[in-house]
């Protein structure tokens, strides 16, 4: 599975005249895929394979990856958001991907986290840094190697299946091309060829070679049409993305304080996004999956792509996908300088909401039946009205809430291994773990899962329901959970000095030390870390730094 790139002096300065590595990272030991990498349309003789171990001949071609690549010219394009959604639906419509998504993915409950991780990963895969790409590819392979199983109809799936992985690269490429077509700025053949080469390079970096994708664009289209017409299905995962995800999209951290605003915006945008995505899917798939043809949907879809395309006239800093994503993840406790502004803005929005509610005329004299008929004032209203508890006491939450926001990562209402695997995955991603730390973390979570199953799965059906969890909460802090905390501590403590320093802390929590930790000088010690982790996992404390770690959407 190692990509084994040729020993070319790859990745010179991206703007340099002779990068010389145009096909390097993608080529791998097999000569096959590297030819059309450097054969941009008319200039180069089509399909004459160069020797495997030499850099391709086209000296003027920019490097395949890095800032000059086609991928990067679209990364900040707002249209790409639409194209990515479309690509994700096409991926999910593949029975293999769909089954893996339905079982393992957290994108329904934590779509923003997933988006951010995907974005980071693509950045690395298409970045200029060869070593980072190899590392990321190895990480992705480890991640996917842990995913396999059987779908609802008993068919096996495996996230390492090579044709399936080729399909993922194919949807990304095809959606980018289609995005340009739909917004009225089709790509010229040269650019298309180049971009195709990049995506084949992406696949080769993952899989060692790109043999599963046809070598040229002209051969790609029959391949794509064939898969769409014969292999894609109306999978559950695709349906969830089209009809459930946008209507129930949880608010990112930035909007957490303004649920009314978020829900209002979502009610308008969600169905529109769904309609736009459906209309942009290939016609054969829409027919096969029996997706609705709404009048005006195609016009709407074209309008959406056109409008998003107009954003290219905005100043470049405004539409940087990276900074937008970072902004979405600003949480009130973060040390980011923008937090103050955002917090002030958010407070103002909350106050405006409060004023609006107070100014809304009452429904009439009929409101408010007699005393005793009220089940109880809402907990949040009561705690807001009674703010005297001080900052030292963390709010406690109910077992159901904790189950929903933290434990049930896949959002299917049950706690089973994919939920804990998703936690391990998120932690490993945050800490950017290599082997063997990553496996150690997974093993610790697996041991915890066995412990949980033994303690909480009272009806023995293999998973834990919210009710089983609520009944067995006290037994949650067993030795295996302590072991998870210790392994996590070791993984976070990179320099192994027995304490988590400021940088290590930031890597895990993406925020600076709280002041009370800072004053202790020596960083965050093992026992304090383990204690806090256990308190979070079993004491059900909220408002700690652990909260955004696993509960953020």
């Amino acid at each position: 599975m190692t990509p084994a790139p040729p020993p070319t002096p790859s990745d010179g300065p991206p703007t340099g005249p002779r990068p010389g590595s145009s096909g390097g990272p993608s080529a791998g030991p097999s000569a096959g895929p590297s030819e059309e990498v450097t054969a941009p349309g008319a200039t180069a003789p089509p399909r004459t394979p160069p020797p495997a171990d030499e850099p391709p001949p086209a000296a003027d071609a920019p490097p395949l990856f890095g800032p000059g690549s086609r991928f990067h010219s679209f990364a900040d394009d707002p249209r790409w958001a639409l194209a990515l959604i479309r690509a994700t639906v096409l991926e999910a419509a593949h029975p293999q991907v769909g089954a893996a998504l339905a079982d393992n993915s957290t994108f329904v409950t934590h779509p923003w986290r997933r988006l951010r991780n995907t974005f980071r990963s693509l950045r690395r895969m298409f970045g200029a840094d060869q070593a980072a790409r190899e590392r990321e590819a190895a990480r992705l392979n480890r991640l996917h190697a842990r995913m396999s199983g059987t779908d609802g109809r008993g068919r096996g799936y495996d996230a390492m299946d090579r044709p399936t992985r080729a399909w993922v690269a194919a949807t990304l490429f095809e959606s980018t091309v289609t995005m340009c077509r739909l917004s009225g700025q089709p790509l010229d053949p040269e650019t298309t060829e180049r971009m195709y080469a990049e995506y084949r390079g992406f696949l080769a970096a993952l899989d060692g070679d790109a043999d599963e994708l046809p070598p040229t664009v002209s051969e790609f289209w029959p391949y794509f049409d064939r898969v769409v017409e014969t292999e894609l299905e109306n999978t559950e995962a695709a349906r969830i993305i089209l009809y459930h995800l946008f209507d129930h999209l949880p608010a990112p951290a930035l909007f957490e304080g303004a649920p009314t605003l978020w829900a209002a915006g979502r009610a308008v945008v969600g169905p529109l996004l769904g309609a736009v995505t459906v209309a942009s899917l290939p016609e054969p798939y829409r027919r096969r999956a029996a997706l609705p043809e709404l009048p005006g949907a195609r016009t709407l879809m074209r309008g959406a792509y056109l409008t998003a395309g107009l954003a290219r006239f905005l100043p470049p800093g405004w539409i940087s996908a990276e900074s937008i994503l970072d902004l979405l993840f600003l949480s009130p406790g973060s040390d980011d300088p923008r937090t103050r502004t955002v917090t002030a803005l958010r407070d103002r929005m909350r106050r405006a909401g409060a004023l609006l509610r107070l100014l809304t005329p009452l429904a009439g004299a009929a409101e408010g039946p007699g005393p005793g008929t009220y089940p109880g004032a809402p907990a949040d209203a009561r705690t807001e009205a009674r703010t005297g508890t001080g900052p030292a006491t963390f709010a406690r939450r109910t077992a159901e809430e904790f189950f929903r926001t933290v434990l049930d990562q896949t959002g299917d209402g049950r706690l089973d291994w994919p939920d804990l695997a998703a936690m391990a995955r998120e932690l490993a991603t945050r800490l950017d773990l290599d082997e063997p730390e990553e496996t150690r973390l997974y093993d610790a979570f697996a041991a915890w899962w066995r412990e949980l199953q033994a303690a909480l799965d009272t009806d023995g059906d293999g998973w834990i329901s919210a009710r089983e969890y609520a009944a067995g909460v006290p037994s949650l802090a067993g030795p295996a959970l302590i072991r998870v905390a210790e392994v996590l501590f070791d993984a976070t403590d990179r320099d192994g000095d027995g304490a988590i320093g400021a940088d290590e802390y930031h890597a895990l929590f993406r925020t600076a030390f709280r002041r009370d930790l800072d004053t202790t000088g020596g960083g965050y010690g093992r026992s304090a870390f383990v204690g806090d982790f256990l308190a979070f996992m079993s004491g059900r404390r909220s408002g700690t730094p652990y909260d955004p770690l696993l509960a953020d959407a």
Partner: protein
């Protein structure tokens, strides 16, 4: 109003600690509390239903808020509904809840514009209607940035319950017996930034404490005007302030006590 920023009541000093100013008259009390008594009697003396008395109280409340604000009172507390008031007849409670909700919503913009920070003490009983609790929370949220007078409305409040809650919070926080002082105890009361009450006005001539902010009234001066609350107006309020300023507060012969601090 820098005081409001100070965490924990232990460090907040009462308004009286400036000492007597020139001429022997004391400064304006910092924290004034009103026990709004006599609504029912006011209505009965006019052969009206008791609920009419509560309605008439609205004007008095607004008058007193305005008078306190312009007189320079920094903290005003109003005892609107006690935990014992749940024993009243159901229809009267119903009516009261609706009335309070209407008053809160009607005057929210005014309170905001006047720079008054509003908050509520109590409001824990499940019998408090959900909508009312929501409105209380909204008003609190709406005005939390205000730095004018702080208006605390004691609604579904009981002084003993607050003390019990503080004790529970101490035990839950794992505070050892030796660490419990008057100051740490005060820090666990609801709204710990509230300073001690300097002056309590109880209308209608009744002379009882009635379980009102028991911890905070430890050194309060009390005045008992004869007026029933619906008749109580700004001049009456100013008269009470005047009476307070004529009094000689000695705090048991010691100067400058702090809220809950050991003496």
């Amino acid at each position: 109003m820098g005081v409001t920023e100070e965490p924990g009541s232990g460090r907040v000093r009462t308004g009286a600690d400036a000492g007597p100013d020139d001429g022997g008259a004391r400064p304006v009390p910092r924290h004034v509390a009103c026990v709004m008594d006599g609504n029912g009697r006011w209505a009965q003396s006019r052969s009206l239903p008791r609920t009419a008395g509560h309605q008439a109280a609205e004007a008095a409340v607004l008058d007193v808020i305005e008078a306190a604000r312009s007189a320079g009172v920094a903290w005003l507390s109003l005892y609107a509904f006690s935990t014992e008031n749940w024993n009243r007849p159901g229809p009267e409670i119903d009516h009261l809840m609706r009335l309070v909700r209407r008053v809160v919503r009607k005057h929210a913009p005014l309170l905001l514009a006047r720079g008054i920070r509003c908050r509520f003490l109590g409001v824990t009983d499940p019998r408090v209607p959900r909508e009312l609790a929501r409105d209380f929370a909204d008003l609190t949220l709406l005005t939390e940035e205000n730095r004018g007078m702080t208006l605390t409305v004691a609604f579904d409040h009981g002084g003993r319950r607050d003390i019990v809650e503080a004790a529970r919070a101490l035990i839950r926080g794992g505070v050892t017996a030796d660490e419990v002082t008057e100051r740490t105890f005060a820090e666990h009361l609801p709204h710990p930034d509230t300073p001690d009450v300097d002056l309590v006005i109880r209308t209608s001539g009744e002379q009882r404490i009635s379980n009102f902010m028991l911890w905070q009234v430890a050194y309060a001066e009390w005045v008992f005007p004869e007026a029933l609350w619906p008749d109580f107006r700004a001049p009456d309020f100013l008269a009470c302030l005047h009476a307070y300023r004529r009094r000689d507060r000695r705090f048991g012969g010691l100067p400058a006590p702090t809220n809950g601090a050991p003496r």
